[in-house]
Symmetry: D3
Subunit: 331 residues, 6 copies
Amino acid sequence: MSEPRRELPPGYQEQLDLGYVFGGLSTFAQRPFVPHAAQLAEWKPDVAVMGAPFDLGTTNRPGARFGPRAVRTQAYEPGTFHLDLGIEIFENLEVVDAGDAFCPHGRVEQSLDNVKAKVAEIVNLGITPIVIGGDHTITWPSATAVAEKYGFGKVGMVHFDAHADTADTIDGNLASHGTPMRRLIESGAISPHNFVQVGLRGYWPGQDVWDWMAAQGMKWHMMDEVHHRGLDAVMTDAIAEAMNGVDYLYVSVDIDSLDPAYAPGTGTPEPGGLTSADLLRALRRLALETPLVAFDVMEVSPPYDHSDCTVNVAHRLIMEVLAGLAWKKSR
Amino acid sequence: MSEPRRELPPGYQEQLDLGYVFGGLSTFAQRPFVPHAAQLAEWKPDVAVMGAPFDLGTTNRPGARFGPRAVRTQAYEPGTFHLDLGIEIFENLEVVDAGDAFCPHGRVEQSLDNVKAKVAEIVNLGITPIVIGGDHTITWPSATAVAEKYGFGKVGMVHFDAHADTADTIDGNLASHGTPMRRLIESGAISPHNFVQVGLRGYWPGQDVWDWMAAQGMKWHMMDEVHHRGLDAVMTDAIAEAMNGVDYLYVSVDIDSLDPAYAPGTGTPEPGGLTSADLLRALRRLALETPLVAFDVMEVSPPYDHSDCTVNVAHRLIMEVLAGLAWKKSR
Amino acid sequence: MSEPRRELPPGYQEQLDLGYVFGGLSTFAQRPFVPHAAQLAEWKPDVAVMGAPFDLGTTNRPGARFGPRAVRTQAYEPGTFHLDLGIEIFENLEVVDAGDAFCPHGRVEQSLDNVKAKVAEIVNLGITPIVIGGDHTITWPSATAVAEKYGFGKVGMVHFDAHADTADTIDGNLASHGTPMRRLIESGAISPHNFVQVGLRGYWPGQDVWDWMAAQGMKWHMMDEVHHRGLDAVMTDAIAEAMNGVDYLYVSVDIDSLDPAYAPGTGTPEPGGLTSADLLRALRRLALETPLVAFDVMEVSPPYDHSDCTVNVAHRLIMEVLAGLAWKKSR
Amino acid sequence: MSEPRRELPPGYQEQLDLGYVFGGLSTFAQRPFVPHAAQLAEWKPDVAVMGAPFDLGTTNRPGARFGPRAVRTQAYEPGTFHLDLGIEIFENLEVVDAGDAFCPHGRVEQSLDNVKAKVAEIVNLGITPIVIGGDHTITWPSATAVAEKYGFGKVGMVHFDAHADTADTIDGNLASHGTPMRRLIESGAISPHNFVQVGLRGYWPGQDVWDWMAAQGMKWHMMDEVHHRGLDAVMTDAIAEAMNGVDYLYVSVDIDSLDPAYAPGTGTPEPGGLTSADLLRALRRLALETPLVAFDVMEVSPPYDHSDCTVNVAHRLIMEVLAGLAWKKSR
Amino acid sequence: MSEPRRELPPGYQEQLDLGYVFGGLSTFAQRPFVPHAAQLAEWKPDVAVMGAPFDLGTTNRPGARFGPRAVRTQAYEPGTFHLDLGIEIFENLEVVDAGDAFCPHGRVEQSLDNVKAKVAEIVNLGITPIVIGGDHTITWPSATAVAEKYGFGKVGMVHFDAHADTADTIDGNLASHGTPMRRLIESGAISPHNFVQVGLRGYWPGQDVWDWMAAQGMKWHMMDEVHHRGLDAVMTDAIAEAMNGVDYLYVSVDIDSLDPAYAPGTGTPEPGGLTSADLLRALRRLALETPLVAFDVMEVSPPYDHSDCTVNVAHRLIMEVLAGLAWKKSR
Amino acid sequence: MSEPRRELPPGYQEQLDLGYVFGGLSTFAQRPFVPHAAQLAEWKPDVAVMGAPFDLGTTNRPGARFGPRAVRTQAYEPGTFHLDLGIEIFENLEVVDAGDAFCPHGRVEQSLDNVKAKVAEIVNLGITPIVIGGDHTITWPSATAVAEKYGFGKVGMVHFDAHADTADTIDGNLASHGTPMRRLIESGAISPHNFVQVGLRGYWPGQDVWDWMAAQGMKWHMMDEVHHRGLDAVMTDAIAEAMNGVDYLYVSVDIDSLDPAYAPGTGTPEPGGLTSADLLRALRRLALETPLVAFDVMEVSPPYDHSDCTVNVAHRLIMEVLAGLAWKKSR
């Protein structure tokens, strides 16, 4: 990275550097902590990682409110040189940790407003937001903010998940983690024609929802297809579908797209999912091959994790995207 | 119990009996499952145990939504003969499991309404409700329903907790697990002069809230006093204070009144609390010596429990109250 | 399902419906609770799920006695519409929860007799039993009851397991979880020529047992073969072998046929096993392509599970079979 | 210890010495491993520690079969100098690890016979046996072997437990962990007049069993009494009662006599129990003040333990007894 | 606090404020992060909390390297108003988080040097250091730095621990967590006549070490004495002994002075220890009654903790000391 | 095995035999315990399994010091007949457990010297050492001892790992678990031309280290290659590369070469790794097809394991190598 690093207060960088194993201050990947919009405007990094500690939309096991903190403090990070791409990520990409949106307990609307405002602050500066959830309800305000920047219907979506999250309501709840994709399509933020889902499986939702999805023109690739064709072939189709006629891409990952063997720490686990290796390679392709402008990783629930397995995978999914972005920028 | 047992569908009682260790259907203490108001009206038990699987008011670690299920299915129950009182509880007291109030995810108001309605169904039949939480927000609707039955300001309250739960709002939230006691006093449901708190300690709330509490005329007994005087002496005072001029008592237990060594599975643990033995004996006295008309046990959070320690204590707190009620009735 | 649903006592169905996430009464998949033979005879469902909470035959880590309870109460179930088959299971298949057989602690013979009696009650009504274990000893009485209904030597067996379970005795014990298949073959309940094992691996049993198995004419497909040929190809052979000359099939799954990464909660884990996705698809084929008349899932040991991973997989294996049966019935 | 240490095979002692923290071979307290009767006869130590890995008598959570292994391998042991008594235990008392009795899975009678035979081997040489369970059923054969040595009705018993373990049968089972004390009294091995129980609490057994116990002349001290009088005063009575007219004492500890806060890793936890400090001091008095000839620690269930808390306490209970015996011998 | 708060970079304070539950940046008690000596010199707080993530001196279970991080990020903190003292701590006492000393893995000497240097930076500015360990080896460099500031032999020590930590070497290791107190006495940093230990128990060290301690003139109060006299009486003596002829006090807490029921997450647990309530009150007295100039909490090992019980207690021990200091300053 | 078994002290073999499930003495696979060099010289087994309980070189999560103990005591072992090879391992290969090298806490150099000495004792007798770690630093002394026996530069190395472990220093530490392979190449013990790494992935080390590795002539096969070509094809190349011009092979496995789903219990987990089945088959080929003279399994960290998953895999990796050696010897 040719441009000089902005200055942190004295002592901060040393403490961030200690954080690579077990000491010091904990930010995402020891990145500078730049929580304020004015600072971001001055600093103008390529990417800002932020947290959305919200789990009020969770139907089953809560705890995703602790996801952002855990990804910052509990993930193991030995280095930042991506072996397959051969690139030192942070020498090629300026990344900061922008802190968390305020998600007050028990207050759904206020929380979603705050997430939307913070994502907007980032994306409106032309910075790529990466959002650590929090439950999947968060993608509603987050992708809305991104669409408001780049244009409603102008941003494609690749959505990895065990569940379609396209119910109208659940338990009468419009702002559930089972409904955000419905909201995004209803509002026009994301066009159903560019909305592609990968990894679906299991027993939900019912026929009526699938009929609605088909009627909208949404695309999906179930795990059964992934098992038969391989994820790589599926991704080629998914990218083509998502990018058809649009110039921007939002990628949203529900950590439960992974099999529970790889990601036990989540609220609504569904056996039969992706492997970590597959999802990592899929994200690399998305970062390298598409005009990705926003990314989120949702549904990491530390109380149900073991030995930080899920937290570590979530951290690596973000690193994989950063590596791809760094590689693109470096060319 | 002289009156004949009402009939369950064939096979049910056998399966409930299997439940005493590791098989069969799981209701609280293998009691008959009588979830419907009409059935309750006909059956007319002395006590109905119900669940309120709600944790949207939790400021810190969620999971109390799984409290009612865990107390029904995970507690170990070797028998039902209370050794100190020498009484076979369910031969002297008719107790049923009335199921859960519907607490839809993400919907605070609807959940609290449903809890209030279900408690009202029970208490309005003259049955003693025992509510398993769920977070402490639940005591707001539950005690309101009880007060509506027996008269606003006519029911005393003994409240065991590490925290006073008398904040006006937290994070702008009126329906938080840190505010229910404020709501009950503001509405007049419980008179502050009969509102007694036991087990308070730690660092919350701040001076302004204590001033408000004192201005209202509330009473409290901090752990420091308990450590110096012993819980038994404190309880003698607490009972006198709570019953001064009223004829009914509601007893509410936050499981975090216990030290985390005894009850790790809770959302906001505070070191320095009660022992299980002390709390059990205090509840026995309340059941034996006061006109207790409602009881709740709140804040059991199974994801943070170990080896069902917290679940078992919660179960025993309820059994202790039932034993006291059975003894009183048998005389 | 065209026929009208039989009536449950008032309030029950509402409570069962609450059970889909975190409240209410817990039966398998919120199915009606029909524990008594007389009720079953009147209700006559297609399938009855029952538990066999027995682990006295376990050589290593016990705990499978808690398997049935955990599968009922701890599994996460978002819905009941099978995505790949496009079928709402319980609209096409009447399924009830028939409760548990009584397995008194420390009493092997009595427990096995009770299991056999309860399976017989179900199967003799022409209902398909699905048995949740409990350790694998249970398949001895269970498959015996099924063979007594359909004829000794008239029922094929597909048995997924890491271990052959065909020892004569272990530690001098005839009724061990390492011996049930020997018992079934010795008694003639299942013909060795229709007895097919899939997923075997590791270090047990020794040469003498394999010699005996070969001498009987049993068939087996080791994991090594599965890794080379793929499970789908192996299943085609296994089905042909098991159904050769018989008209009924019993499918028995030891959860340790899965790799411990997918199913840590079991008594005798053996690395190198099946993935959840593979086993789910294999069971779907069995339900769709064979005249399956009984199914069991054994060796789920909750004390060794993490984050309910194993419990969830076990639940899904049963759902997969139910989905296949529903699809067949609906055509 | 003035007499020279018997010789171990070369290298063994060095490896045992490594075991004091995290390496080497694991025997109890790094004591020489002397598993064979003939060796014991030659070596003639003061005390032989042995294991009884049996849990087939467990009514609720199994796992005590792993108790002996865990106490040997997982307990933390920084040294062997008892601070309060000021004595280096193993310089004053010859202690060996005699290995385990063979407790074949699923075979209750054979297991109990083997335990009895192994205890007899030890006690008949005049060596004090210390038995690590295993569930409490084990005390039946163990105390029978001790009584056969010293005379039926000639050995007193102090029994620490939450439960009386004096049921006739449970689930029709005579050899349950809830029945051993009944067996010992019925057979005459221990006289009821010298049978003293400490720590009882909770809800089991029922009135009929208490009537039987009283009719026999058994003595007991409930936790309620302990809370009021203090354990020290209770122990003075208990010792007097147990030793009235006899010259030998067997001390049996169910680890669930401790509160679950101190000993979560057990099968049938009951809140409201002893503290570790209290039980340690009580055992010290028993070792110092009585002619203790046998000791057992039962019901340690490692699958339900956390951070080896229960295993460590069990280890210390044995060390406390050894320290008392060493002190007595050294005078 | 009358003086105006120093300014943090924009956005920082808001993020620290979020940290009170589950979001934002994690410093100790949301205090400003002031890691650099020059900043500290300008800011000049009353107290600086720092971490020493070192566990290379651990004889048994490692993991204390993660102690500082866990106390900052995992402790639950509902507020900062000390209920018993009635004081808002941080309005009366300026406290900052000074970050961690660099403790490179595998390098004992370098780590201890870095800890000493960082403590010296703090104490030499007249700021009270509070050190979060890390294993107890850390008290060697930490107390040496404090003694270098106030004078060798001029600082008393009250040391809460299960173990005396006064061995000459362990495994030939001079810099072990079992030796720091020997080092401090040998170097003259702390006079043995003002060195008072509280909470000792168990089986270590041996007679020779006790002889050395007595010969030096050290004082100690074993748990046995605490159980008999009560901790309050013992503390009165301990304070008098430690302060005899000196004007400064260092207080060092090994978290294993607590019973494992209260603090399971530690490396060398010893049953029979203090309760949280007792230790909290003892520290309050020390902060209120003595000229405490430094404090440390050692041996918190998060991998062995459950539900953050140990982390929370460690956090509260620090808060209790801060509350006492705030109260003193406010008078 | 035609030659008669050497005699163990009476009772030992019976106790070892008990160890196959949950009793008795715990050695690796119930092999005779032969800890002393003189005994080994007399006994002269084919293979000696030893432990190196060292984790002072660990950069992140410690705990590998408990690896050897856990593999001996916690692994489940149902039998010793390798199903795929059809061979009773210990009838064809004499294997003993040689105990642990002494690895004193806090003393890196002394520990590494002791490991080297103990490996040398074994290998100099012509016995194949199998070393259970401990962290990967251990391979430095272990492979050095092997190279000193067979000649510097005469022994090839196949090294399975997520990380190259070829840093010059980490945190200034030459003896880190991230540096052993650098040390072996610098010293000439292993020639870089025969040094082959398999399974590398993630973000470490940086470009300079890869340049150094390439300059040396080292070979490596990243996971990306494994995912594309399959491990079997990669192994064919790896064997050819490692054996090019040398006659001996050392195989070193870092358990983190496996994906964390299969081996969560390790210090530096990296998502995207091998499956257990793949690694087991690769080791079988190495044992069967190469002149393997030494083997190690490193980085098993029990405090981070769940349900002994990682411990069991480590145990099976050793068994797979033993099976291959037994098969080779039997021909």
